[in-house]
Amino acid sequence: MSAKPSFLQRIWPLLPGLAALLITTLLLVVMGTDPIDAYLAMWQGAFGSSARIYSVLAFLVPLLLAASGLLLTFKAGLWNIGIEGQIIMGAIAASWVALRVQLPAGLQIPLELLAAMAGGAVWALLAGVLKTRGGVHEIFGGLALNNLAILFTNYLIAGPWQPPEGGSFRGTQPFGAHALLPLFDNSRLSLLSLALAVLAFAGVALLLTNSHWGLRLKALGQNARSAFLLGVSSQRELLLAMALCGALAGLGGGVRVLSWFDSLRQSISGGIGYLALMVVLLAGFRLVLTPLVAFFFSAVLNGSITLQLRTQLHSALGDILTGVLVLLVLLFGNYTRVQRVVLRAAQAARRRLSDG
């Protein structure tokens, strides 16, 4: 390999983006929609007015919180797919305080948010213990726990937390105004929650780059054996990483019920945890990229709502755009690996030609 990067190597990181755009454009053309109209609608849906921008930021909060948490668990080598359930349990715990506890103004919301973090952390620890003590892979333990969290929500809104008019799986009755996060400018954005998300991300970044614990976690993620040699008690580190991730995800769930909605509802998360996994994969586990990618996801998804309203195309197009992008970056993002495969294939072809 040459020391000086070639032109191709320099533009390489941009290519997956272009290819993903090309594929979605093709889909649009096949569906008979003018791609320019479609992308314009998405742009305007994300940034067309201050209200849209607030909505992008409001959706960003739980996504960024969850993604920050996942940076920790991925660093420890864990596939915390149970993050979806951790968001939901956070939402449930926050709802419990909002519905059942009445405190002075300065204490109510902090307690709700703390409960949310505790709820998420407990659910994450459960997945963690299933792995460390029970030998159940965190992907399957997590999936089961996700579904149990969804069903627990249903139990609560159809059972003990049923609204007074009864029936329906719609949700609990709206929480009192004192229990809800203050909203910014008639939108669903809570500035407090945005500040917390930014703080949480900064904390995770600090932890991973500037702490002994971060170093040990990394060792653990790279190789369980070398971590053992370093004297890292793997179980404790893993569980701590899970608990912290769960707490952040749970906080995101709390923000969902206390500002995005005003009550606990069925499917309170609806897949934000899985989206956060995609965010971290696209960012390639890199700290700096994570918030940017999360913002990009939120903008695309919000934009796809406007896309659907204007063009009647399914808003899943936004998920396709981001999904194809993540896939291509995962497959072809590493220039040197791709180069090696191509070179080998070329060699083999040449050999075959000269043989024949």
Binding site: N147, D262, S267, G271, S298, L309
Partner: protein
Amino acid sequence: MHKKGILFVALVALLLAACGSGGASGEGFTFGMILVGPQNDHGWSQAHYEGGQYVVEHLPGAEMIVFDLLNPADKPEATLEGVVDEMVAQGATLIFTTSDEFEEDTTTVAAKYPDVTFVNISGDDALTGEGPANLSNVMGRMEEMKAIAGCAAALTTQTGQLGYVGPLINHETLRLTASAYLGARHCYETYRGEDPDDLEFTVSWIGFWFNIPGVTSDPTEVTSSFLDTGVDVVLSGIDTTEAINVAGQRAAADHAVWAVPYDYLGACENAPSICLGVPFFNWGPDYLAVATAVAEGRWSQSWLWNGPNWDDLSDLSSTSVGWLNGPGLSAEAAANLADYISKLASGEVAVWAGPINLQDGSAYIAAGAVGSDEQIWYLPQLVEGMQGPSQ
């Protein structure tokens, strides 16, 4: 407490209906249509979507903006408020929110946009006074149609066991399911000469308006389970078509089973030969009346619970709800069913005629009395004789 309200509303409805026709113009008029399921679900959501299309056809120049599949499981990034924001930004002055799921949020958002008219389907906030002045409710008076559906099932069953695939439990679903049972009971006794207490009518609730994998019970499996355990006619109360699909598949394997779908005029298409008929919503005329009133600036708040055109239950220009016989109904059953319909139309027979006890045995409607609108709308439980949970 609601009686006066209902009378008043009925009056408004009559007035609205009276001035609903005539060459109104919808130039520059835009309305929004928000659906909980897909717009082509062959059920609840499609019926609303086509109601919106009816408005576009009959109010020249009117434009419709549709948003479907608005539920947090399918679209976590979308909220009713966000969708309404966008619709209003695109010029909508009237917005239909077509699900019980949207009731609370519609009331909240309506307060945010006092100059936009909101119509929530199946709610009662305009009746109870919880909603702001720019919010109306519309619902089709489906109860008699459900009774006709139950009657068709009772006229057809060979095993004497009917199964009802219900969505979730609330006042609306309780009263509709009970109406189907009351119709079935009446016809089993009157036309088949059987003891109505021998008719088994079982309800299985899936847990939501439609199937959400992993969250609700799967209606495909619920229907299979019914057909495995002796039920030979399944009635659907959910938004989608699984019940008739499974029954159609069984019938193709030479089982003697039938189905009665729900909501959408074309729902029999999925398995015509075993479809006994469909009780359907025809939202078009009511939506047109509301849209015309808004476009002409003479709309006022109302809570509409409009019934069928008894002269012709399938006249799509006038009836709010209807019944359409399916190809699976035998000639003899069709004749009996026509007799039942004519008696309902003349008032000779009432679906909710006492004595009716609730499922727990307590008296609800006395012998000789007929249930009031309020008693029917707010039915607290299933009625006596039905099997399946009430809460």
